[in-house]
Structure formats: C-alpha cells, structure tokens
C-alpha cells in the first residue's frame, strides 16, 4: 500500500507540474480529477465490503506437542464485488506459556489460506486476527473487514507410559466406606433410620416399625472407593510444564482405564485459589486440560501442596496423587 501511495503522490506531483507548465484548461481539469479520484476509488470499494467477515478455523481441535498446529483463514463476503487485497494480521499465543508470534497474510474470498504454527509446547494456541483490512481500488486507504472469532487448538502432550502402576494400585482398597446406595435395592449391608418423607414404602422395615411403633426404613449400603485427587503445580518453564502435563495425562488416562474417576486440582498462580475439575472420561479430561492450558503459568509460583486440598463433595476417604515432572507422588508408595 505504501508503494501505491507513493505512486499516487508522484501522480499528484506530475499533475501539479502539468498545471504549472501547461497553461490551458486541461491541466486544471486533470489536477482536480486526480485529486478527486481517491474518493471515487473509495466509493467503488465499499460494495465489496458489505457482509465481509474473516473466519479462523483450526484444522483440528488438538495436536500433539512437536507437531504443527494449522489454522485455515477464510474470508466470507456477501457481495458479488471483490475485496481488494484483503489482508489480515494474525497473532497466535500459547496461553499457557505466553509464547506468541504473528503473521501477515493475504486472505482470499475464494480459497482458504492455511497458517501453520509450530506447537513446541503444551498449551492452548489461540489464533486471533489483530487486524483485517481491505483497501480501496487505488490501494490508498485501508478499509476494515470483520475479524470474526478466534481459533484455538490444544497442544496436548504425547502419550507416556507410567513407570510403575503396581505401586499406584497397591492401596486401591484402602479407605473403603459404606454409603447409602442411591435408589436402594437389595444388598447385604444396610442401615436403619427413621422414615423421611419421600422414602419409598418398600424400604420401610415393617417388622421393626411395628415393634418400635414408628416407621423405620432400611437403607441399603454399598461400598464406595476413596476419591482420587490428582494435583500438579501450575508453574514452571515450558519444558517443565510439558513433562508435568505428560505425566498428568498419562496418569489421568490410566485412572480412567481403571474406571476410577478422579479430580484434577491445581492452584491458580495469581490468586492461589484451587481449581478443581472432575474427570470421568476423555472429554472431561480435555475440558480440564483446556481450562488448565488457558491459564497462564508463570515461571515461579506457589505449590498446591502448600495449601489445602478441595475435598470432593460427599467423598469419604481421599487418595491424593501429586504429579511432578518426574512422575507421580503418593498413591500406594
């Protein structure tokens, strides 16, 4: 656009020189026409702008660290007239590590333009259009184009095998407690209590009720395993975090394979407030990671071990596993 502006300035200078050297009407007419031409150029460019909007779409919602994240930049326009030299300045940021970069590229209304971003560290890569603009026919004035919403890609750690799962399973029956089974039903272990409105009639222990002359309910109990809380420290260098999240994902997936839902907790680096997310499947794990990856991690911070854990509601005994870059601490060890 600078070259076009210089060219136009040269054109104006030539017209002024022509006005000076040429004594007749044409020189003034040409000078005025050239001065008015940018307005015409601007007006003619406006129809192409109608309904124009930029879209940033990730090629896949997540990639594995070490690969490349790819975004597709496309331009939608509702006008039959073209946009002139639509360009977009993109900035991508790893929200976890704070790494960022930017690119300037030409968008096209007819074809998606790919943008490849290296995914060197775990985190959430957000690609945002800082500025999207077109220009008038002469290329003198920038005209804004709708920027649309940001695109985001999760950079997940590569799969990792846990070193010693035996130790993790060693104490799995510890802390078994009996808790009322929701919905009742048959069972060997039960407890008696007074009737409360809403209890089903078939749970009433009629024999004992007749003896005591008040309604007594037999509540079936079932053994419940201890809740597992997995913690990690949300700070450190990107490399440290990469290893930490690799261990965390490996542990979480292993627990899910063992059908052990668990909680992942970490301390927010700024407020030291404990973030707690329940993980009962792959989807929940990704949601948890997205939240974690969206939270910037400083180089230094306060360990979650220095504070208190958030105990899951209704849990009995809690097993606490702490993930470090080197492995998992706690469990049966």
């Amino acid at each position: 656009m600078i070259s076009r502006r210089i060219l136009y300035a040269v054109l104006v200078a030539a017209a002024v020189l022509f006005q000076i050297l040429f004594r007749f009407y044409l020189s003034t007419f040409i000078l005025v026409f050239i001065l008015v031409l940018p307005v015409l150029s601007l007006l003619l460019a406006l129809p192409g702008l109608a309904g124009s909007r930029l879209e940033i779409r990730p090629a896949s919602p997540s990639v594995v660290r070490g690969e490349s994240a790819q975004f597709h930049i496309s331009l939608h326009t509702a006008s039959p007239f073209p946009l002139i030299r639509p360009r977009v300045r993109l900035r991508w940021t790893n929200q976890l590590t704070g790494e960022e970069g930017q690119a300037l590229l030409f968008a096209s209304p007819t074809k998606e333009v790919p943008l490849t971003v290296p995914a060197d560290h775990c985190g959430r890569l957000v690609c945002r259009a800082e500025r999207a603009w077109s220009c008038d026919l002469l290329g003198l004035f920038p005209l804004p184009v709708g920027r649309g919403i940001d695109g985001a890609v999760l950079v997940l750690p590569p799969a990792l095998e846990l070193d010693d799962t035996q130790e993790l399973t060693g104490g799995q029956n510890d802390g078994v407690v009996l808790r009322p089974r929701p919905g009742g039903g048959p069972g060997e272990d039960y407890d008696l209590r007074e009737y409360r409105a809403g209890d089903p009639l078939r749970s009433v222990h009629w024999k004992l009720s007749s003896k005591l002359d008040e309604l007594v309910v037999r509540e079936t109990l079932e053994p419940q395993q201890a809740a597992i809380v997995v913690t990690y420290d949300h700070f450190g260098s990107p490399e440290v975090l990469d290893r930490t999240f690799a261990q965390l994902c490996a542990l979480s997936r292993w627990l899910l394979e063992q059908e052990r839902p668990h909680h992942i907790q970490w301390a927010a680096p700024l407020t030291s407030m404990v973030e707690d997310r329940s993980v009962d499947g792959e989807h929940a794990l990704l949601a948890c990671l997205e939240l974690a990856f969206s939270t910037p991690a400083p180089q230094e911070g306060r360990s979650i071990l220095d504070g208190t854990l958030l105990l899951p509601a209704g849990s009995g005994k809690v097993r606490h596993l702490h993930v470090t870059p080197e492995g998992v601490e706690g469990g049966g060890r």
């Binding site: 040429f22 007749f24 009407y25 015409l40 003619l44 129809p47 030409f106 007819t110 026919l137």
Partner: protein
C-alpha cells in the same frame, strides 16, 4: 514478523478471458483505441470521417476481443491475420495511403509550426477535394488502428495491464500536449475514462480477474459520471488559470536561471566565470537579431522601496554603436578616471588616448543625486531594495539618482561610468536614492565633486558619447534636414506639439541663467527628437528583425518606420549625438510600485531608453519610446505613498526572458489589471459551503444519535428499554465503559424472564447507561472522543 508469501492466489497465468471479462475488455479497448486516434487527429487538426472512424474502431474492438477469447495458438493466428489484412490494405490502397500520410504530415507540421510560432508551414501539392483528403486520412487512421488495436487487445483483453496500455496510448496525447496543443475534449475524455478504469482495476485484477470485470461494470459509469460532473462544475468558458501556478512557473524559471548561472557561469562544477558578477557583464546589446518580442511573464526582479509610482531601474549603458550592436567603451578610454590605486593589476595605459586624472572616488552615476542633495539637504531620501531573481546576473538594477557612493556599497561595484556590477553570490542589494531630482532646479555639485564632474565632462565630450557610426550618418543627416527645414511639420500635432513649444520658448530666452541654458537645451532637444521619432515611426512590438546587410538604425529611420524601444532608443541616441548632445543607450526595467511598496518586476518590463549628459549635473535619462510617452525616467517615483500608481502606457507584448541587454516593451499596468480583474467566481463559494455543511453534520449526527437513544430508553416496554440500555453499555465497553453487574442481571431478566421490569428497574439501568456514557466521554482522548461523539454518536 513472519510474512507469508504475497498473493498466494495470484492468477498470473495467461488464461483465456471469460465472457464478462471479454465484454468489459471490449468496452475498454474501444475507448482506448478510439480515444487515442481521435485525440491525436483532433490535436493536429486533421479532419476525419467521424462515423467511419467510430464504426471501424468498434468493429476492430469486437473482432480483436473475439480473437483474444481463442486459445493462445489460434489467438496468435488471428492477430497475425489482422496485421496481414492491414498490410494487404496498405499494399492494395497504397496511393490512398500516401494521400493520408501527406495530409497527416501537413497537419502535424503545421500544428507544430503554429504552436511554436515557427515558419515552415507546408501544404499538399496535389489539389484534391477536401473529401478525398478526409477519406484518405480516415483510412490510414483505421490501418493504424488495426496495428495499435492488436497490441492494445493483448494489453487490455487477453492479459490486462494498465501500464502497458498506458504506454501504448499515451504518446499520441502527450506529444501534442508537449507543444501546448489540447486534443478535442470528447475523445480525450474517452481516453482518460479508459485509463481511469484500467487504473482502478489494476490492483484487483492481480487477484481476481473475474471480480475485476464485475468492478469494471461499476467503475466505468462511475468514472464517466465523475468526468461529466467535473466538466459541469468547471466550465471551460470561465476558466482562469490559478495564480499559484503562475507564481510557481516564475519560481521555476528563476530557479533554473540561478542554477544555470551557478553551474555554468559561476563557481559551480562547470563554471568558467565569477558567479555572474563583476567580470561577467559585458555591456553589449546585439541589435541585428532583435525580432518580434516574446513574453514569458516570469519575475526577474523583486523590489521593495519607499518610492511609489513608476521607477526606472537602470541596468547598464552602452556607448559605442557599430555593426548593429551597442558596446561599452574600451577600458583604456577611461584613462585614470576610475583607477583605484588599491586594486590589483596593471594601471591603465594612456599612450593612445588623452589623459584624464582620477575622479578621486567620485562616480558619475552619483552626480545628479549629490547636486540635488547639496541643494536640498533636508529632503527625505528613499531606500530601494532590489533582489535579482531572474534578470541578467551581471548587473545590479538600481533606480536613478543613487546616493550610495562607491565606498558605501557592499556586494556591488561600479564599473567605470556604465553600470553597477553584482558581487559574488549577492543577489539582493539595498541602495539609497535622492528622489525627485530635477536638473532644472539649479542644483550644483559641491567642491571636489564639481571638479570631478568637470574632468568627467571633458571626457564625455571627447569620447565615443559623441561618436556616430559612419553607416548611419546619411540617415541622421536626413533627420537633421527634416528638423531644420520643417520642424513642426515632422512633429505630431505640428506647431502645437509640447516639445516644439518648449523649443520655441527656449529660443525666445526662456532660460534665464547660463546653467539653465546648458541643461534646458539638451532636454528640449531630447524632447524634439522623441517627438520626431513618434511622428516618424510606429511602435510595433512585432517588428521583424532587420534584414541582413541593413544597418539597424538606418533601416529604422529610412525604411521600416516601425520598431520598439530598442529601435527608438538607438535612433534617438545617435540623433542627439549628431546634433551635439552627448548621449548613450541604456537598458533596464520599468516598474510600477504599488502602495504596498513591493513589486515583482516581470521580464516583460525590460526596456531601453536614452541618457543625455548635462553639464555640471551628470547623466539624465530621457524617454523616447512612444509607448512610454509621459513617463519621466529622471523622476524616480515619489516618496509619499500614493494610492494609485502613475498612469502607464498601454501594455504591449514584451520581449523574451533572455537575461541580456535586449529590452522589451511596456510592462502591464497594475491599475488596469485591477480594473480588468474578473468578477469573483461564485463556484468558489461551494467550497466553504461544503466545509460548513460537513462541520454541521457532526453535531447533527450526535444529536440524532442521542435522541434515538433516549427514545429507546423511554419506550413503553420497560424490558425493551432496559435491553436497549444494556446494548448501549455493551457498545461503550469497547471504549472503556464498565458494565455494572446489576445492569447485566436486569438485562438478563428483561430478556429471559417472563416478568415485566418495574419503572424503578428501568430508571436504574437507564441512569447507569447515562452515567457511564458521560464517564466514557470524559475519559477518552480527544480524537477518540470525537469519533465516539460525532461519528458513532455514542456519547
């Protein structure tokens, strides 16, 4: 910043154009082809058959466009076929083509000669009917159109390129413009329209040729409308060239002159002289090539002075007339008069001339002022500052009766008794003059100055100031005979002529004292000579050059009887000498100083006049050119500011801006210019009117935005009012406004709850919106506030 490759989708492949591209390309091809050829033919005033030309160009455009739609191989074959057809036409119709070439050649040559005022007009030898010439020229034009069309089709339809199409077509228009010839308006506008549309589409064509074709459909009528509206808004009939353009042209001319002096005549890289200063002026005037006067109008001198009215700015005087030119006196003729013992170099030799002692530092150009100063010591002197911006760089142009003596000058130096030379790199000079000096006032030079004048007077009467060139003697004798035999009969008005009346008065003893006689007699005779020349010859600025072999003055006095200031001044100088009055030829400028005291002297103000020598007084200028009759060169304006300048003679054409001694005719009269000034063009009122409307649009936009907002806030449905206030606050968030939680909650309630919000809740939200709006407005920097207030209407 990572920069991705530009234009990832750049369609540079030379693909075949699509139907819409062909259609728009055909239109542009027709515009460019027709506009180019028609503009050129109209510029050279070559009549053509317009209908034939239009139809031919249209058919060619369609044919070439269709050829461009073919695959490359077949397209090349088609193009070759068109060129072959053109060649075949030339071969078969060669005699007609020759006629077309002849008529075009005549038109081009005659147009150039007309525009550049050259001789050499040509006409066809063959005497044929006009229609034959027109048809021949049209046919030749169509053949040229076929060749040009092939190239243009490639550059417009097949592979569109603005630069190539411009390069192909522009020479046909730029060539006439270079010689100040404007083509016919309609084809020129067509051509400009084609260029404009090609230029507007050049950027988008790189990325999307199909889109560019759509855009052409939009830009073609839009650009045509713009050209049409501009033509309406700027009618040619009332065109006035902007003053700034004239001023700029002056500046460029002056700059070029200074550059020329600096580079080629000064101390610059190519210089051989001394900065156009002391040694550069030669005091020569070439008369033999003095033809019709030309005029550029550029400024040559800028004068600031206390004087008002007409002043004569003296350049230099010439003493020796021979071989059709005025020359200075040889240096050795001055003997020791102007020798300064402090200066370097050999003292003047006087072996071949009479010895004249030194004037002791006195300068003859100061004599009249010194005499008048001695007699009227309390008279106010006047300051004159002259800046040389384009005149001959060798001279300092000063008014008459300068008081500044040789030792009081800086940046200038008297050269003998002839002129004041400019110092190195000094372009502005300030001198002091004694205004309103009158040689008949009885003023006498005091003491030593009187002795110096006496020495100089002897020199004047002994020197070439009395010499007459032999070839002119016969013509001068004839003049004397005319005056002696029948003086009144040769003067305009006969015996009633004022000069003749003064002559009679002088004969009847009108001068009481001896000094009066010695000064009155030359003055009266100068008047007689001026009147005689007025009656003998006609003032004509277009006087052609003197024929080769003829003497300039003799031819003027005996043959042509027409001329301008150079002719009159040269003749008068020699006539005065012939009747015994020392005289010399002077070159300079005439300026009319307005009440402001500042005047830009154009080159057209160059002039020539005569100086006669008055004993005991010095050189006194006299005007002998009829066009300047009434002017008194010796009366250098007045010190008292006058509202109007002295009446001037009729402005006439003037001489070329050549910085030589060749003068020109009378300058324009500023008073007349004022009277003839065009009335104010009311269209210029549109500009301030538009500015006012634009300024008013901003507060109106704010007011409209505010009223619409308040109307939404006050609407009957409280839920909608709250949502409107919420949306307004959302807009303000982009400008730094904070959305209160309570407002957000109430907005959600208004949107999603089936309940109707109360008036209190509406008031709460609306008040919050107003408060935050005011806060945002106050917190923003001025440019954002302007945008927020007057463009978006948010605050």
């Amino acid at each position: 910043m990572k920069r991705h490759p530009k234009h990832p989708l750049k369609p540079r492949a030379s693909r075949r154009p699509r139907p819409l591209e062909l259609f728009t390309g055909c239109l542009l091809l027709f515009l460019l082809l027709t506009g180019t050829l028609w503009s050129f033919s109209s510029a050279v005033q070559q009549p053509l058959h317009p209908l034939l030309l239009l139809i031919g160009c249209a058919l060619l455009s369609v044919l070439l466009t269709l050829i461009c739609a073919l695959p490359t191989r077949w397209m090349l074959v088609g193009m070759a076929a068109v060129l072959g057809a053109a060649g075949f036409t030339v071969w078969r119709l060669f005699p007609i083509m020759q006629l077309g070439e002849i008529t075009y050649r005549c038109s081009v040559v005659n147009t150039v000669c007309t525009s550049l005022e050259l001789d050499g007009f040509i006409h066809p030898i063959a005497q044929l009917p006009t229609g034959v010439w027109v048809r021949s020229a049209t046919l030749l034009t169509l053949v040229v159109a076929a060749v040009l069309g092939v190239l243009l089709a490639l550059a417009v339809v097949r592979r569109p390129s603005f630069s190539v199409s411009f390069l192909l077509t522009s020479p046909f228009v730029l060539a006439p413009l270079c010689i100040s010839v404007t083509p016919a308006w309609l084809p020129l506008m067509g051509l400009i329209l084609g260029w404009t549309v090609m230029g507007l589409g050049s950027l988008v064509r790189r990325q999307d040729r199909a889109g560019a074709a759509k855009l052409t459909l939009l830009s073609l009528p839009a650009a045509a409308l713009l050209l049409f509206l501009l033509g309406l808004a700027m009618p040619q009939d009332s065109y006035q060239r902007p003053q700034w353009a004239d001023d700029a042209l002056d500046s460029i001319n002056n700059w070029v002159t200074h550059l020329d002096v600096t580079l080629f005549h000064g101390k610059g890289p190519f210089g051989f002289g001394s900065g156009g200063s002391f040694a550069d002026a030669d005091g020569k005037v070439e008369l033999s090539n003095a033809g019709p006067l030309n005029f550029s109008g550029r400024t040559v001198l800028e004068v600031d002075t206390d004087l008002r009215g007409r002043i004569y700015l003296r350049g230099f005087s010439s003493a020796v007339y021979e071989d059709g030119s005025w020359n200075p006196l040889p240096e050795d003729r001055y003997s020791w008069m102007f020798w300064d013992e402090t200066q370097e170099g050999e003292p003047p030799s006087f072996t071949d001339s009479v010895f004249y002692p030194s004037l002791e530092g006195f300068q003859p150009l100061n004599f009249p002022a010194l005499a008048d100063r001695d007699m009227f010591p309390n008279k106010d002197y006047a300051k004159v500052t002259v800046r040389n911006v384009g005149a001959d760089p060798g001279y300092v142009y000063v008014p008459y009766h300068i008081l500044s003596q040789p030792d009081e000058l800086s940046g200038a130096k008297f050269v003998n008794d002839s002129y004041l030379a400019r110092g190195d790199d000094v372009w502005t000079h300030t001198v002091y003059v004694q205004p309103n000096c009158d040689p008949l006032s009885g003023a006498e030079l005091p003491g030593e100055a009187s002795q110096a004048e006496s020495t100089y007077a002897n020199f004047v009467y002994d020197s070439s100031y009395m010499a007459v060139y032999e070839d002119v003697v016969d013509a001068l004798d004839a003049v004397i005979e005319d005056l002696v035999t029948d003086m009144p009969g040769h003067l305009p008005g006969g015996a009633e002529n004022p000069a003749y009346q003064a002559y009679l008065e002088l004969l009847q003893g009108g001068a009481e004292r001896e000094t009066d006689i010695t000064r009155t007699y030359p003055m009266v005779m100068a008047g007689i000579v001026a009147a005689y020349l007025d009656g003998l010859a006609e003032y004509n600025p277009d006087t052609p050059a003197t024929p080769e072999g003829e003497d300039f003055v003799s031819y003027f006095l005996t043959e042509s009887h027409e001329g301008y200031c150079m002719h009159f001044a040269s003749a008068a100088t020699l006539i005065l000498r012939h009747i015994g009055i020392p005289a010399r030829y002077v070159t300079g400028y005439v300026a009319d100083v307005p009440a402001s005291g500042h005047v830009n002297v154009p080159d057209s103000a160059a002039h020539a006049w005569v100086e006669i020598y008055l004993d005991g007084y010095g050189w006194e200028p006299v005007e002998v050119t009829p066009a300047y009759a009434g002017s008194n060169p010796g009366q250098s304006g007045t010190v008292e500011p006058t509202p109007t300048p002295t009446a001037a003679p009729t402005p006439t054409a003037t001489q070329a801006p050549q910085a030589s001694a060749r003068p020109s005719a009378a300058p324009d009269n500023p008073q007349e210019e004022g009277e003839e000034a065009a009335p104010l063009d009311l269209r210029f009122l549109l500009i301030p009117l538009a500015a006012v409307l634009v300024l008013l649009a901003f507060p109106v936009r704010r007011s409209v935005g505010r009223s619409r907002r308040e109307k939404k806030f006050r609407q009957e449905n409280t839920n909608r009012a709250v949502i409107a206030a919420y949306l307004h606050l959302k807009k303000l968030e982009r400008w730094g406004g904070q959305m209160p939680d309570e407002v957000a909650e109430l907005a959600k309630k208004a949107k999603f709850s089936p309940h109707t919000l109360t008036e209190e809740e509406r008031t709460t939200v609306v008040e919050a919106a107003r408060t935050i709006s005011a806060q945002v407005d106050k917190a923003l920097p001025w440019y954002k506030r302007f945008c927020c207030r007057y463009i978006l209407g948010l605050c």
